[in-house]
Symmetry: C2
Subunit: 263 residues, 2 copies
Amino acid sequence: MNTPVISKSQIKLIRSLHQKKYRDEHGLYLAEGIKIVQELLTAYSDMIYLLVATEAAAKTIQAGILPTHQEWVLISDTELNRISTLTTPPGIMAVVKKPSYPLPETLPTPSLNLVLDGIRDPGNLGTIIRLADWFGMEHLFCSPDTVECFNPKVVQASMGALFRAQMHYTHLPEYLSQLQANQTVHCYGTALDGHNLYDIQLESPALIVMGSEANGLSDMVRSHCQQNLLIPNYGQTVTRSESLNVAIAAGIFCAEFRRQLGK
Amino acid sequence: MNTPVISKSQIKLIRSLHQKKYRDEHGLYLAEGIKIVQELLTAYSDMIYLLVATEAAAKTIQAGILPTHQEWVLISDTELNRISTLTTPPGIMAVVKKPSYPLPETLPTPSLNLVLDGIRDPGNLGTIIRLADWFGMEHLFCSPDTVECFNPKVVQASMGALFRAQMHYTHLPEYLSQLQANQTVHCYGTALDGHNLYDIQLESPALIVMGSEANGLSDMVRSHCQQNLLIPNYGQTVTRSESLNVAIAAGIFCAEFRRQLGK
């Protein structure tokens, strides 16, 4: 079902989705690349258009990657270059409907969940969404000043994990108060003056709270954490790095929680 | 000891250092930003020039950050923008002599070391160097096709850890053969069909071998690994991410080795 035309107004709409303002207005976002589109097709996300450039189309059809049941639009390489968010456009782009998940009133037991307080770097957020998917985290709760998860750089770095993630942007102190009123949850902060992660018996349902590298956790969010954890370092006598990248720290926390708590 | 002039030939030299070819030719590289320059001043690296732009200089002197014992060159903001490798130049740049470390014939016992086989992304390499520093890894051995560690993006992402890292670029299979002939070392590969990391009793001196996300380990390097390890995932019935980012995986491996082997 090949529809070989794309209108000027569609191109205009797609180009507008490079900006958060218009992603919010239209409730749509962009995802590019064969790997990411394949992930999209197996996930629940609603695709609005699938655009494929001439050269990429020939290859993907030959490789049997492009699904025959999916309607797609063949566009010229020049057109795709104009609407791509990437410096080297991969030749295939989807326009996707933003999902929306209701904030859960309670968390499943057992479950692991992430709380992200002011994570500004899109690459870091995308990498965190990807590892959260690997470790089967249930929900990701983000402060309003965390970078938007539909930012093209986040979508790319998540490698398709975004399509399966339950992302929530909310006022964290308020939400954590409500949650703690409804249920006993274990809220673990992360801080350089915290307890050694490996000396603590971790419990579920858990919320692992990560702050930005520059500012750490905000005081309001920190006040909801029953315990602060630290990944121990192992320097010699020489000076060593002051901290870990926030996505690396999130990966180590999630791995240790899963090791201790099992499936 | 403020020397307020910079010659045209110096500017030409510095601009040439944006390219690997000239970094190799001159044995020099660039490092930018106050945090990174501070790390440089406490490390062993040889600094050739320290260049500070007018506005940044006023601030750093006021904050007592710019060392008085260090000779530095005041340059105009326009000049610094011309020689910076960054889109938003932070106003301070160092020209640094590349260090060179002899390949060790044996590894200390106990020790943890990293082997990087074809890591192409500069951000990933920088992040790995930073976490290796945090976890007190002794040596980092890189294949010749791993991105050069003096690439400006690697320097930035390492957040100063590069100045303390013992980096070696070498033909890995040949070096691992020599090392294994001299000494019993424990060489752990990382692979999606490997043993669960948490079911294995890890031993030292250890080499943790990481391959690229796209290609994994090369066969020649893999043949030197006595055991392949996997970080277990925990998906539900839905499809989940196929893999972790290579820097995230390196972080989780290093943390678990340190947890098991202690200091």
